[in-house]
Subunit: 190 residues, 2 copies
């Protein structure tokens, strides 16, 4: 059984996911989530500031990625340091089944989709600070982070569908595809 | 005098920008914006669904970019079609001075920053549909759009600071930098 199944945070996450799936995000209350998880509403707020946050695991992913970038070898190119960090995101991911259901729930709720965008923007800002700490100019940092996140999104959606590939392999694959896409080719003759 | 200065929508946009700057987004009401622009609240809602939307010019940018992608030569690579479209965004941009002040107002208001993220996500989705209409697979479309938007952000922030360069030149420059960044180099010896 994965770690997160056994603790209160994981029980709250699974309860929220199930309730959002069956009755929708809007109609689910924090009290219902807590009750379904066998906990009190007060316990819920020890883990999450609000109902929208329950599927975003606090700042776990952000903290993990920042720590990875900060720990990267100093001579690693910033872009490589980012891709390496993003390739380890599965260390803090929930199970594939949980994540696939989560994608569906987020897509079905504008409120959750907005929070998803905000969390990603927060992560990008935190990574920018980490790269600036490595001496990267802020505009340059923001640019390579936007590109690395594009690569990571492509890789993560494949990872969700393919149990046999590792996330870091799929990130390397998407980075190779990007190299290919940005290399201008002669237009094909119609 | 630019076109948008002479019409009601432009007057509302400038009034909102000034009020957001001087008293903050939260403390500004739609009635105040309308009054400052010399219009009625009812007129405001003919142009914008709510107070947050007034700095985002409705769907002008999205409609422009989608039309550009749809009109691109069929033999143009999808990534090149995107970059070409994004390079014409200045055709619907407000003045540099307006845009620079707008950046500051958005950065100062979480509500506006969220709307900014949502508008960008909407544009990405609309562009994805346009590329799918050109036969691009949906995951691939999403990926090159994310990358093209990263390039466009980099170019636009330079364009705001540099009155002498065209947006399309700066997009070509950022694309060249990206090619450079994704090409692995030997680590430097410390």
């Amino acid at each position: 059984m994965p770690r997160w199944e056994s603790d209160a945070q994981g029980r709250l996450e699974r309860a929220a996911l199930e309730l959002f799936e069956t009755q929708g995000f809007e109609r689910t209350t924090v009290a219902q989530i807590a009750r379904t998880a066998g906990l009190t509403e007060r316990s819920f707020y020890r883990y999450f500031p609000d109902k929208r946050e329950v599927l975003f695991a606090g700042n776990e992913l952000e903290a993990h990625l920042v720590a990875q970038v900060e720990a990267a070898a100093p001579d690693l190119m910033p872009f490589e340091a980012l891709l390496t960090a993003l390739g380890t995101a599965d260390e803090v991911f929930r199970s594939r089944e949980f994540l696939l259901r989560r994608v569906g729930v987020i897509a079905a709720s504008p409120a959750l989709a907005e929070r998803d965008l905000i969390k990603l923007a927060d992560i990008a800002r935190a990574l920018a600070r980490a790269l600036e700490g490595r001496g990267v100019e802020s505009g340059e940092a923001r640019f390579i982070i936007d590109v690395a996140i594009a690569i990571s999104r492509r890789a993560t959606s494949r990872w969700l569908a393919d149990p046999d590939a590792t996330l870091s392999e799929l990130i390397a694959q998407a980075a190779a595809e990007l190299r290919d896409a940005v290399t201008p080719r002669a237009p094909t003759v119609r």
